[in-house]
Structure formats: C-alpha cells, structure tokens
Amino acid sequence: MLTAIDMERFNAALAPSAAALESMNAKISVRDFDFFYGSAKVLHGITLDIPDRQVTALIGPSGCGKSTFIRSINRMNDIIPNARAKGTISIDGRAIYSSDTDVVSLRRRVGMVFQRSNPFPKSIYDNIAYGLRIGGMRNRRELNNVVERSLIRAALWDEVKDRLNESAFALSGGQQQRLCIARALAVDPEVLLMDEPASALDPIATTKIEELIWDLKVNYTIVIVTHNMQQAARVSDRTAFFMLGRLVEYADTKTIFMNPKEKMTEDYVTGRFG
C-alpha cells in the first residue's frame, strides 16, 4: 500500500522526467502546487520548471501570489500560522515538502533576499558571519575568508573593507541590500530567491543590484520577483506571469515580452493592464 509520503516521493521521482520535456536542467520542479492561508486558496495548481543557473523572473499584479510562491521554495511560509501547501516542489529531484526534509538545511541551500533590507543590529562582519556561525564555523581565519569572498561576490567589498566592524545600519539602503545578498551568499546556497530586491532602492543602487544578479547567475539559480517590467526584461532568462494565484504563462523572457501567447500577458507587460 502506498502512503502519502510514498506518493510524494513517487511524484518527486517522476518530476525530472516530466521536466525533461520542457528543459533539460531543471533545478526546481513545481507540480500542481496549491497554497492556502487558512481557508483562502491563494495559489492554484502551479506547475513549472526553474532552470539551473539562470535567472527566472516572477511578474504579475499585486496580490497574485508571487511572494507566496517564492517563499514556498524555501518553506519560509512554514512560520505563518495556518498556512498550508499542497502539491510538490522538488529541488534536484527531491521533494522539499516531504516529511523527511530538514527545513534548516533546505534554507541553507536556498538563500533568500527580502524586499526591504533586513540586516541584524550587528557589525557588517558579524552580519555576514551569522549564518556561518550558526552553521558551526568557529575558526576565525575561515570566517574571515568567507566574509571577504561573500562581500566580493556581492560587489560590496571595496566599499566596506575598511569598516567591517561598523554597524550594518550605518550603510546606505543599497549597500544594506547588497550586504543582505552577501549574507545569503556566505552560507553557500545553490538557489537565491529575491523578492523585489530593488523596489526600495534608487535607480543607481538598482542598477548595481541588477548587474550583480547578472554576475551571480554563473554560480546560482536565481528566482526574482519584480514589479518592474524593464528589470524583468533586463535581468531574467525566463519569465513567469502570475495572475490571481495562477500561472498564466511561462516562457523565455524574450517570448514573454515580444511575443506572448496569452492576451493577458501581453496586456500586462505592455502596461495596458487594469
């Protein structure tokens, strides 16, 4: 007899072959994924494959479930009371909602950057080192190395290398956001989730973040939520258009913006929406 967990494993095992139809190297496979806040169903049967080491943008009108979806990928929604997920999300073929998933290690593999930068009230150094320290790294030299490497990757090193012991709150908004990116990179994730990472920033800081995303995709699978169509067009390889909790269209970014199949997508990306 098959238990629910067996079924999930079964589904997860199937996912890669299903994914193969669409893309040969899916990092994240989502199948019939529903999400509920209490009794309100906010995601309806989402199915898509997110390719490895590319940037996938999630776009759609406010309230359509982009944040809910992206937060489902590292199970950040687990901390919301009465929230419930149904269906499967697998990363490298392993179902993350199965009962044998270790959420803590999942979140270390799937980093997240939030809409508003949220540094800890600690020094720049200690912010980056936080994830390493809770992971058990104590050796000062090792810590120094990773802190430096992460800041370099987040294109922040030159600006802060002489003030690592200053409070993170002393940085500008754009720098704080890059600090948060560096903090996420420090624990060496494979996937980076970004929920409107530049929406609170000025154009120059935004450009820096976009360039950074472009550089990072060499090593990381990136999923980014954005309200800015130009941004989605500039940084992403694939774009998923959500509306009212459903995935309307998902394709190469070029296709979505130049030649969408759905009328709704076209209306939205050309700004004729609503």
Binding site: N74, R107, R108, M112, N118, F120, P121, I134, V187
Partner: protein, 304 residues
C-alpha cells in the same frame, strides 16, 4: 483652518498637563530637600556612610538602609530576571496562539495584587517554608557568609523572594511587548539563513536587547521603592550583612516604620533625607529604563 486650531488647543492642553506632572516631580524633590535640611546640614556626606542609626542620641547614618535596599533589589532581580524573561519568551514565541492572551493577563494580574497581600502571604505561607529550606541547607554552605546566622525565615533572602515575585510582571510584560514588536523581517532573515526556532528567538532578543535591559531596570525601579511587603518580611534590623538569613532593613521600610514615631525635627529630617535619596535613585533608574525602552521602540518603528 478650524481643524488646525483644534489641534493647537489639544496640543497646548496636553502639553500643560505634561508640564504640571514635571513641575510636580520637581516640587516633590524640592520639598523633600527642604524638609531634610536639618539632617543635611548636620551630617553632610557622613549621613550616607554612617552605620549607626540611634534616634535617642540623635546619631543618624543611613548606610544599612541603603545597603538593604540595593542588596535586596539586586537579589530580587537575580531571581526575577530569568523567570520574567522565560515567561516573556514563552508567551511571545512558544505558547500556542490560543493561550497567549490568557497567559499575558495572568502574569499581569500579579501586578494588580496589593503589596500588603504579598506581605501577608509572605509572613504566613512563605516564611515557614523558607525556614524549613534554610534548615535543610548543607552545613558547608551555612559556613559561607551568604548563609550565616540563625535560620529565622524572615530576613534578606525572604525579602528578595517576595520582591522578585512582585517584579516579575513588570519585567515580563515589557519584555514581551518588546519581543512582540521585533520586526518579523529580523526573524525571517535568521530563518532564511538556516536558523532553528531557538536561534531565531535569539536574534529577536538581540534586536530588542536594549529594551529588555530597560524592562529589567523597570523592575529594579519597582523593587527599590517597594515598601509594605518588604517591611513585613525583611526583619527590620539595620545591619550590613551579605547573609540571606540576616534580618535587615531597607530605606522604604525604615521610613514607613519610624515616620510616626519621629518625635524631634532632626529625626524627621533624617527620615525625609532617606526619602529624598530613594526618590532620586528611583527617578534615575526609571528614567534610564524608559529611555532604553523608548529607543528600542523607536528603532522598531523604522522598517528594518
């Protein structure tokens, strides 16, 4: 136009009330000072360092009371802080949502119990128990200065226990408020880096650290000035001793006990001078604690 005029009237009246409160505080301080002039002039600084309190010969030294107040408050915080923070953490972080409000009300209820009731409970219920415990203490510990003297039940240790219970609701409700208001983004940042629940709680505590220190100091302010319950269980004996068994005295207790007996002016002024010092200390402690709590709340309102 009208609305802004209304606003101004509102601002001015509330401002006036605030000013009245401030004036009142200054007035009380001034009056305490004026009414203790005799003692201030006669003893000067010696008043704070003298160990002899002898109304008959007119010799007044307040050190034993200052010691008693500070020591009992310190011990009380030592006991109450971990418990109060534990309660705050449990209610705000760990308890099931349904229990949250009832538990919060329940701890706050502790603050509503009149001090005299704590005193009575201390005398009739707790003292015999504490005395039994004191008797059970191993001989090796009894030989240390912290537990020297006959086990009477009443004394410094007993006062610290009662005080700590009275302080818990203050510390825990402010600490709970602080924890509750730590931006969710802080916990999410921790979780996103692979923090466990307990590690995320530690992040929240770290964020509210200053405010939590403020909460502890608020408890201190309360403990310093507490009178009735302490008077009933501390033993009222002006001596300076580290022993928890020793009957001692506090500033508030000596004022309450001896105010009606103070026959001559110098005696009265000496008591009021103790009041003046207590007033200054508690205002200072409260000010600092409020300041810490305020700065923390300020920081939390900024989206961080």
């Amino acid at each position: 136009m009208r609305r802004s005029a209304d606003d101004r009237v509102f601002r001015i009246t509330t401002g006036m009330f605030a000013a009245i409160v401030l004036l009142l505080v200054i007035g009380i301080g001034f009056e305490l000072w004026r009414q203790s002039m005799l003692s201030i002039d006669k003893f000067g600084f010696r008043f704070w360092t003298g160990r002899v309190w002898d109304p008959v010969s007119g010799e007044f030294g307040a050190l034993p009371f200052i010691w008693g107040t500070l020591y009992s408050s310190f011990l009380a915080l030592l006991l109450s802080t971990p418990i109060a923070l534990g309660i705050a953490i449990y209610i705000s972080e760990l308890s099931p949502g349904m229990l949250r409000q009832p538990l919060a009300y329940l701890t706050e209820l502790l603050a509503a119990i009149p001090s005299i009731v704590y005193g009575l409970w201390g005398v009739f219920v707790l003292t015999p128990i504490v005395r039994k415990l004191e008797l059970l203490l191993p001989e090796s510990l009894r030989r240390t200065p912290f537990f020297s003297g006959p086990p009477l039940g009443v004394g410094m240790g007993m006062a610290a226990i009662i005080l700590s219970i009275m302080v818990i609701p203050f510390t825990s409700s402010v600490a709970r408020e602080i924890l509750k208001n730590v931006p969710i983004a802080q916990r999410e940042a921790a979780y996103a880096l692979g923090a466990t629940r307990w590690e995320a709680i530690k992040v929240a505590i770290g964020f509210g650290k200053t405010g939590i220190i403020g909460a502890i100091m608020l408890g201190l302010g309360r403990a310093l000035g507490e009178t009735m319950a302490v008077t009933m269980v501390i033993g009222n004996n002006p001596q300076i001793s580290p022993s928890l068994y020793a009957p001692q005295y506090t500033m508030a207790a000596v004022i309450a006990n001896e105010f009606t007996e103070a026959a001559d002016d110098l005696y009265l002024h000496a008591l009021i001078e103790i009041g003046l010092l207590l007033f200054i200390i508690t205002i200072f402690v409260n000010f600092i604690s409020r300041f810490f709590i305020w700065t923390t709340k300020q920081r939390m309102e900024r989206p961080a």
